[in-house]
């Protein structure tokens, strides 16, 4: 199974996280009992450095969005954060 992708939407007051629709479908198929969260918003100080502030929370965000443990996510191919506006993908370590 390919890496789980989470799309990022940066806003002035924080960041919105949402599972890529294909990842959502893959997780539903593989883990039918998983409790998926449709959207997660994390507020932050506009002056905060994005990756320094948000990057430290990406594992937790991935677990909350998917309802899976980090071990399950690693077994599923890991997690990547995709910022469409920046066209940037970052693997979550």
């Amino acid at each position: 199974m390919s890496s789980i992708v989470i799309n990022i939407g940066r806003q002035s007051d924080g960041c919105t996280y949402q599972l890529h629709p294909r990842s959502r479908a893959d997780i539903k198929r593989r883990f039918p009992a998983a409790h998926l969260v449709p959207t997660l918003f994390v507020g932050s100080d506009p002056q905060a450095d994005f990756e320094t502030f948000h990057g430290t929370m990406w594992k937790q965000i991935a677990m909350m969005l998917t309802g899976l443990t980090w071990e399950q996510l690693e077994e599923s191919g890991g997690v990547s954060m995709y910022d469409p506006v920046a066209s940037a993908t970052t693997k979550v370590a």
Binding site: N7, G9, T16, Y17, Q18, P21, R22, R24, F41
Partner: protein
């Protein structure tokens, strides 16, 4: 260069605003065009929703159906936001509004990325709709669920007691 598209677009935006106001919501148009056409506000609690209106004139097709095309920026379709974007595809045919297709960004993104509805061209996703009395179809998917589906903004009776 024709300016018709400016009038077409504005007419759709105003038609959607009229519908939302008639349902009891306040509406505002951003001063600066950053992709949102309309901000919709529920006055009693300030709940905000965002709407982008796409307007097109439908062309007659076979067996009484009409065809219409819309496009949205791929990056906008991919980017989540709180509050999230809602698309309204306003369809005009024979000097009247035929239908409005109301669909959330997330649902449209799922249709595109999971069900291959829509075609990507130059950073935009093109949706070609065929509309008949019985159905609204894009490729092999029915979008009739979204036809004139204003339920995201249930009618507010401002005359009722608080």
């Amino acid at each position: 260069m024709s300016r018709q598209h400016l009038y077409t677009g504005k007419s759709g935006q105003l038609a959607v605003m009229a519908e939302l106001v008639s349902r009891g919501y306040n509406v505002a148009v951003p001063e600066v065009d950053v992709g949102d056409d309309i901000f919709v506000v529920r006055d009693r609690d300030g709940q905000l929703s965002r709407v982008q209106v796409k307007t097109a004139n439908a062309k007659a097709g076979p067996e009484g159906a009409v065809g219409v095309m819309f496009n949205v920026p791929l990056k906008q379709l991919e980017t989540p936001h709180v509050p999230d974007m809602n698309y309204v595809f306003a369809i005009r045919h024979r000097d009247s509004w035929r239908d409005f297709i109301i669909i959330g960004r997330d649902a449209l993104y799922e249709l595109y990325s999971v069900h291959a509805v829509g075609t990507q061209v130059d950073g935009r996703v093109l949706f070609t709709l065929t509309i008949s009395d019985d159905d609204v179809r894009c490729k092999d998917r029915s979008l009739s669920t979204y036809r004139n589906q204003w339920s995201k903004w249930p009618v507010i009776d401002h005359g009722a007691s608080p």
